[in-house]
């Protein structure tokens, strides 16, 4: 539902006075002063016409608020739905059928007012763009702070990792060397003991063999002693048979018998001594038998040390392998994190690129505002302060482009084909 257009007021006396007064003042004043020229008459006529234009301007219908209780128009309803203030959501001026010239002026005035009402929109847009720049700067600063922290942590982590790696390698090498040295020392000691034991065993075996020979000799001597005793007994018997002639021989036989008895006693003593020595050798052999057990223990101990040495070597190899593989991989990953952090440090620069693009839009916005201001002044019958054509705005906006992307988007939006210039991002002169 539309509201009826208000009736145009009739020409007021004061407006006629203004137009007539202006014309007369310009045209008549030179006549009074006696310096009338044809040009003054032309000026007087033009002034009268201007007076008429001013009069028309003053006849512009006032914007009337809808009557209280009247239903809002569709335009107002739409505006209300979008949250547009009533001053901006003004009803378009209805065309008057009876006075087309006045209607055109009224439309021009309304359009000028619309343009005037657009001014807050430009301010809001400008502030919105600045707010976006501020937000991206804030976000970039937060990202940079996080990156700094991440970078510091990564650097410390890499340092700790290197230290741990060196320490593990050092401990592994020291442990390996110590165990190896220990095993070698014990092995040398056990080898020496083994050699000594074997030498002792050989000596005892030789002594035992010699004692056995001695024992055999004693047995032989005992047989000789027994034969001698029998010979002495027989000699004594034969000497007794010979009577007085065998007296001397009987003395020899007796002496021979005493000798055999003494020899038998010595043999018995020798046997006792040999037996004692053999017992001692037997005890030594028993000890040696125990020593054989010790020898076996020594061999097992040596084998154990060899095994320990092998374990130490294996442990060292595993540790070194871990250092080379796992820790190297962790170090590699840490390094990769550092590289990524560096990469993000570079990528954050997009914020500055976006900021400059937004600033270019802001400048275009300001120029558009100037242009509309000029239009508004023209519609109001005033001379624009700084006339600006839309083409000039676009051209000036282009001058503010700094990135290749801006130029590309501009050309794409206008359907232009631009020569692709492949300018390198990095150029050393």
């Amino acid at each position: 539902m539309r509201t009826a257009a208000p009736a145009l007021p009739k020409i007021e006396i004061r407006t006629l006075l203004i137009s007539g007064g202006a014309g007369c003042l310009v045209g008549v004043l030179p006549l009074v002063l006696g310096a009338a020229q044809p040009a003054h008459l032309v000026i007087a006529a033009a002034s009268a016409i201007c007076g008429g234009v001013v009069t028309r301007a003053l006849q512009r219908p006032a914007r009337s608020a809808p009557a209280e209780g009247a239903s809002p128009s569709r335009h107002e309803a739409d505006a209300a739905a979008w949250g547009v203030p009533p001053a901006i959501a003004r009803e378009p001026v209805e065309a008057a059928q009876d006075e087309p010239r006045d209607d055109t002026q009224a439309r021009a005035q309304a359009a000028a007012q619309d343009l005037a009402d657009l001014e807050p929109l430009f301010s809001v847009t400008r502030e919105q763009l600045r707010s976006i720049v501020g937000q991206t700067e804030g976000a970039a600063a937060a990202i940079m702070a996080s990156l700094e922290a991440l970078n510091t942590a990564q650097t410390r982590s890499a340092g700790c990792l290197t230290g741990a790696r060196e320490r593990i390698v050092g401990v592994a090498e020291q442990s390996d060397a110590a165990l190896h040295t220990l095993a070698r020392s014990l092995g040398t000691y056990l080898d020496g003991r083994l050699r000594e034991t074997r030498a002792e065993r050989s000596a005892v075996d030789a002594a035992a063999a010699q004692m056995q020979g001695l024992d055999n000799l004693i047995v032989s001597l005992e047989k000789v002693g027994a034969s001698t005793r029998m010979l002495a007994l027989n000699a004594n018997i034969e000497a007794s048979r010979a009577g007085i002639h065998g007296a001397g021989f009987k003395v020899i036989a007796r002496e021979l018998q005493d000798l055999a008895q003494a020899s038998q006693a010595a043999m018995a003593e020798a046997r006792t001594q040999v037996s004692n020595v053999q017992q001692t050798i037997g005890q030594v052999l028993t000890v040696e038998h125990g020593a054989e057990g010790t020898l076996s223990e020594q061999q097992r101990l040596q084998a154990l040390m060899t095994e320990l040495d092998s374990i130490a070597q294996t442990t060292t190899q595993v540790l070194l392998g871990m250092v080379r593989s796992d820790l190297t991989e962790v170090a590699s990953l840490t390094s990769a994190v550092g590289t990524e952090v560096l990469s993000v440090f570079g990528q954050v620069q997009f914020q500055d690129v976006v900021r400059q693009q937004i600033e270019a839009i802001e400048e275009s916005n300001a120029m558009l505002q100037l242009c509309l201001d000029g239009l508004q002044r023209s519609l109001n019958g005033q001379e624009p302060e700084a006339p600006m054509r839309p083409a000039a705005i676009l051209e000036t906006a282009r001058l503010h482009y700094v990135t290749q992307i801006q130029r590309h988007v501009d050309a794409q939006a206008l359907g232009r084909v631009t020569a692709h210039t492949d300018v390198p991002d990095i150029e050393l002169f």
Binding site: V341, F345, G346, Q347, V348, D352, T403
Partner: protein, 128 residues
Amino acid sequence: MHKVMIVDDSPTILASMSGILGSAGYSVVKAANAEDALGQVKAGLSPALVITDYHMPGMHGVQLIEALRKLTQTRFTPMLVLTTESQQEKRDEARKAGATGWLVKPVQADKLLEVVKQVAPSLQAIAA
């Protein structure tokens, strides 16, 4: 001590460049505009490398390079322009002013470090 001077009105770029160069072991000094940078050099700072933005409030980057080239301690210092600007005319202008090279934002960290090593090899000695 040899330092890399970063000149940019964007705090993001200053932080980004400091992060990249600092991680690589370089010592960085920052300036928020060309006048600040010029003042630091006139006060005695002798940077081993200058990396400057082009578009800044006040003097722009190429004007800064021209001014620094007139000072004794920065007459032969390598100077790079790091900018969003992509016009060839601006590059030519920078070259004539004595710039060593031209980098377009955003620049990748590894590429930046390569360029730094290339144009300022003496800085490698203090790099970690």
